[in-house]
Homo-oligomer: 173 residues x 2
């Protein structure tokens, strides 16, 4: 059992203690990091899903609109650029664009320079909606973070995560 006082234990500590009891040979240091990363990602993903649902969009649809929004005016990218940025297959992107186009949040138009291609552009309504949704989603994240860590710790955490992410995404992962 970990020596850590009860109020500072989390579900991952419990799992690691279980492993230590049945497989004391295992090195669990990496699990302390990646187990928590996994659970945090899932918990916050669920929260963001709920936050965006108020705007009638899913998290994946939010990501499409947000990518267009932060590309700047004229808020236009190709399906290819979108699926590459969002690490999605072209089939998956077709489905998301279908839904968002039906909802009137973006439109597809022919690429004038390449007749194979399309341009995807935010509509006025799409721009308005994503600007509100980005604000609401950001507020949820900010509140979750500041409830747990002060600004200094949060900055430290971000810096450590940057190092780990750069190394992990860098080397074929």
């Amino acid at each position: 059992m970990s020596e850590r006082p009860e109020q500072h234990r989390d579900p991952v500590d419990a799992i690691i203690d279980q492993w230590a009891a049945v497989r004391p040979d295992l090195d669990t240091a990496a699990m302390e990091v990646f187990g928590r990363v996994h659970r945090l990602s899932r918990a916050m993903g669920d929260r963001m899903e709920r936050a965006y649902a108020r705007f009638g969009i899913s998290r994946g649809e939010f990501d499409v609109l947000a990518t267009l929004r932060r590309s700047g005016e004229p808020y236009t990218l190709s399906p290819r650029q979108l699926s590459a940025t969002l690490m999605l297959t072209t089939g998956g992107m077709t489905g998301r664009l279908d839904k968002l186009e039906r909802a009137g949040l973006l439109r597809r138009s022919p690429d004038p320079h390449d007749r194979r291609g399309l341009q995807v552009t935010l509509t006025d309504r799409g721009l308005e909606l994503i600007d509100e949704a980005v604000g609401a989603g950001g507020a949820v994240q900010t509140e979750a973070l500041s409830a747990a860590l002060d600004a200094e710790k949060a900055g430290h955490l971000a810096a450590l995560l940057r190092e780990l992410l750069a190394a992990t995404e860098g080397q074929g992962g």
Copy 2:
């Protein structure tokens, strides 16, 4: 643009710079944390998927076997306990158990104390396979972590993540 030298920038820095250019009013501090958590979770998830594929199981199936394994002898839990632990609907659990039972890695038997219920138990082959897979998966995680951070930084990161996770999973999320 961020002042950080190029070799210390990661993909999340680029996204945050884009937001700063088009929406300078946004507070992006929380995105520095949760954006990286999300991407790390996805990147490592893909790697683990590949690691477990060598044993003929998916990540979700690994989680079922691992939960049984770390529960200790006699490696028996109910479908209900498993789906609660893994935050999965009972329908999803039925599917995973079907596949694992067909593969001969676990067996379902009636619960002697409750005729509605079942007991799910690791077979000898399931025990052997999960012990190897846990080792292989742990090695992948350990390698990814130690390639990026020394032990002290890794411990610090784990501690910060513990604080954040405890707060996040604690308050309805």
